[in-house]
C-alpha cells in the first residue's frame, strides 16, 4: 500500500479492482500513524506544558495551511492571497465578539461561513483566469481587503488593530486562561474537526475528481467532469476553512492585527505547506510546526536576519525536496517497503 492515506498517485498495487466506492473506502481507512499523530498532538499539555501558546499557534497555522492544501495540493489552484479569507474570518470573529456576540463556537462558525461566502462570490472570478492572471487576481483581492482594513479605521481599528474583544467562556464553562490551556484544547478540537472534514472531502468521489483535474484537466474535461464547478466548490470550502482558522486566531488571542490580511501571511502559509508537503493533508500541520518552531528559534537567535534562513530554506526545498517533509518520508517509506518485500 501507499504509505500515506487520503492521498496517493495511484500506485501499481491499487489497480482498479472491484467497485470504485470500495476502493475509496479502502484508501480512506485510518492508519496507525494517523492515530499516533493526533494522540501526539493531544498529549502536548503533558509533554510541553509551558509552550501551549505556541502549540495553539501551530494548530491554527496548520488549519490555515490545510485550507490552502485543499485548494493547492488537491485543486491545483495557486493562490498568492489566501490570507484574504483568513483575515476576513479573523475580523468577523473580532467584530462579532466586540458587538455583543461573545459566544465562541457560533461566532467561529459564522465567521467561517462569511469567509466561505466571500470565497463563493470570488470563485466565479477565479475559475475564469489562470496562470499569471490568477496569481495577480488572488494577490489583488487580498491587497484590496488589506487596504480596506488599514483605511477603515472606524470599523477595524486600522493599524492599531481591533481591540476590546471579550469572549464568553467556552460552552459557558472554560474561559481563556493565561497558560493557554483552554486555547489549546479549543484549537485542537477545531483543527481536528477541520481535518476530519478535509479528509472526508479528499477521499470522496469529488476529491478524486479534483486530483484528476490537478493531474490532467483536459482529460477530466473529456470524461465530462464539470471543471469550473469543482474548482468553485473547492475554492469556497477552502475559503471557509481559512476563515475558521482566522476566527480561531482572533478568539484565542482576543486581538486582531491588520497583518492577518497581509501578503506576508499569504506567503508564510504557502511556505508552511510546501515545507510540509502539499497534497498530503498532514503536510499542512507538519509544515506549520516546523516553520513556527524554526522561526521561533531563528528569530530569537538572529532577530534582524532570520528571514534570510527562511528564504534559503524555501529555495532549498523548491530545488531539492519538492515533496516537502511528508513527501520525503513517503518516498523513504515506499523504498523501504519495496526493499523489504524483495
Amino acid at each position: 500500500m501507499v504509505s500515506l492515506p487520503a492521498e496517493s498517485p495511484p500506485a501499481s498495487d491499487t489497480a482498479p479492482r472491484g467497485r470504485p466506492v470500495t476502493r475509496l473506502e479502502r484508501r480512506s481507512r485510518w492508519r496507525w500513524h494517523e492515530i499516533l499523530f493526533w494522540l501526539a498532538a493531544a498529549s502536548c499539555p503533558l509533554v510541553v506544558p509551558d509552550d501551549l501558546v505556541l502549540v495553539s499557534q501551530v494548530l491554527i497555522a496548520g488549519l490555515f495551511a490545510l485550507s490552502l492544501d485543499l485548494l493547492l495540493g488537491y485543486g491545483g489552484i495557486v493562490s498568492l492571497g489566501h490570507a484574504a479569507f483568513f483575515g476576513v474570518g479573523a475580523y468577523a470573529a473580532g467584530l462579532l465578539a466586540r458587538h455583543g456576540w461573545g459566544e465562541p463556537v457560533s461566532g467561529l462558525l459564522l465567521s467561517g461561513a462569511l469567509a466561505g461566502l466571500l470565497g463563493f462570490a470570488l470563485s466565479f472570478i477565479i475559475v475564469r483566469v489562470r496562470g499569471i492572471a490568477l496569481l495577480m487576481v488572488t494577490l489583488g483581492v487580498s491587497l484590496v481587503l488589506h487596504e480596506a482594513a488599514v483605511k477603515g479605521y472606524a470599523v477595524t481599528g486600522g493599524d492599531d488593530g481591533l481591540q476590546g474583544i471579550v469572549l464568553d467562556p467556552l460552552f459557558g464553562l472554560f474561559s481563556m486562561d493565561m497558560w493557554g490551556r483552554t486555547a489549546f484544547g479549543y484549537s485542537l478540537a477545531v483543527a481536528f474537526a477541520g481535518f476530519l472534514l478535509a479528509r472526508r472531502l479528499v477521499s470522496s468521489p469529488f476529491g478524486l475528481a479534483l486530483q484528476g483535474m490537478r493531474e490532467n484537466s483536459r482529460r477530466m474535461a473529456a470524461i465530462g467532469a464539470p471543471l469550473r464547478r469543482h474548482s468553485a466548490l473547492i475554492y469556497t470550502v477552502s475559503a471557509a476553512l481559512a476563515g475558521v482558522a482566522g476566527a480561531l486566531l482572533t478568539q484565542t488571542t482576543e486581538f486582531v492585527s491588520v497583518e492577518v490580511l497581509g501578503f506576508q501571511r499569504s506567503a508564510e502559509v504557502l511556505i508552511m505547506l510546501i515545507l510540509g508537503g502539499a497534497g498530503h493533508l498532514y503536510g499542512a500541520f507538519v509544515g506549520a510546526a516546523v516553520f513556527m518552531i524554526v522561526r521561533d528559534q531563528l528569530a530569537a537567535a538572529n532577530p534582524e536576519y532570520w528571514f534570510f534562513w527562511l528564504g534559503l530554506m524555501l529555495v532549498l526545498v523548491v530545488l531539492f525536496a519538492r515533496g516537502g517533509i511528508i513527501g520525503g518520508i513517503a518516498t523513504i517509506a515506499a523504498r523501504f517497503r519495496k526493499g523489504g518485500s524483495r
Binding site: I132, M136, L139
Partner: protein
Amino acid sequence: MMVSLGNVLFNGLAYGMLLFVISVGLSVTMGLMGFANLAHGAFAMLGGYVATTLMNKAGVPFLLTLPIAFVAVAAASFVLERGLYRRLYRAGELDQVLLTIGLVFMAVAGATYVWGPGQQPVRMPDYLTGQWTVAGIDVGVYRLFLILVGIAVTAALVLGIERTRFGAMIRAAVDNPRMAQGCGINVNRVFSLTFMAGSGLAGLGGAVGINLIGLDPGFPIKFMVYFLIVVAVGGLGSIKGSLIAALLLGVFDVGGKYYVPEVGAFIIYAVMVSLLLWRPAGLFGRR
C-alpha cells in the same frame, strides 16, 4: 491646497516612467520564458545600492553610477539565471513563485545585513535638483530627468527589438520558441541575454528611482505588486503594453494620493482586478 491636474499628470508620468524602466525587463522575460519572477524588485534594489554605495563611499558622480548599476545587476542576474532560474523553466509557476519569494527574503535580509535597515541617504547633483514653473505646472528637474530616461529606454528598446538582428531573434523566440529553436536560434542564449538586459534595466531603474521612491531593504516587497501590475495589466512580453500600463499606474497612483488619500492604494488594486477579469491576458497580451 488643491493640486492642479497638470502637476498630477506630470508627477504621475515621471513615476510611471520609473515603473516602466524597472518593470519592462520582467515583462519581456515573463513573456519569453513564462518565468514568474517575483524577485525582479530585488534586482532593482541591488542597482540602487550599487549606486548609493559608489556615490557615498567612492564619490563616483551620479550619472556615472547608472551604467555601473546596469552592468553590475546584469552580471548578478546572469549568475542567478544560470545557477537557479534555469532549473525551473519547465516547472510550474508555483515552484517559480516559491523560489523567487525565497530569493526576495534572502535579498531583504542580506541588504539589511550589509546596508542596514534604514533609508539610504542620497544627494543628487545640483543640476538635477530644483524646479521650474512652466505654464502653471511645477516641473521638478529630477522628474523631468526621469521622463527623459524613460523615453530614452523606450526608444532603445523599440529600436533594438524592431530593427536589430538580435531583436528579431527575441521576437521569434517569444512568438514560438520551438520553431525559433528549429530555425537555428539558440533560444537559451537569447533568453540569457534578454534576462540580463531586463535585470540591468531594473538595476538602472532602482538607481534613478532612489530620489523619488527611496531605497531601503523592504524595497523588493513594497514595490513587487506594482511591477507585477505593470506586467499583468500591460500583457506579458509587450513593451507597448508595459509602457501604457506603467504610465496609467503612475498617474492614477499619484492622482489617488493627491485627491483621495483616504482611499489609498485601494483603487489601484480594484482596477487591476477588474481589468484582469475583462482581459485576463492584459491590455496588449496575446491569447
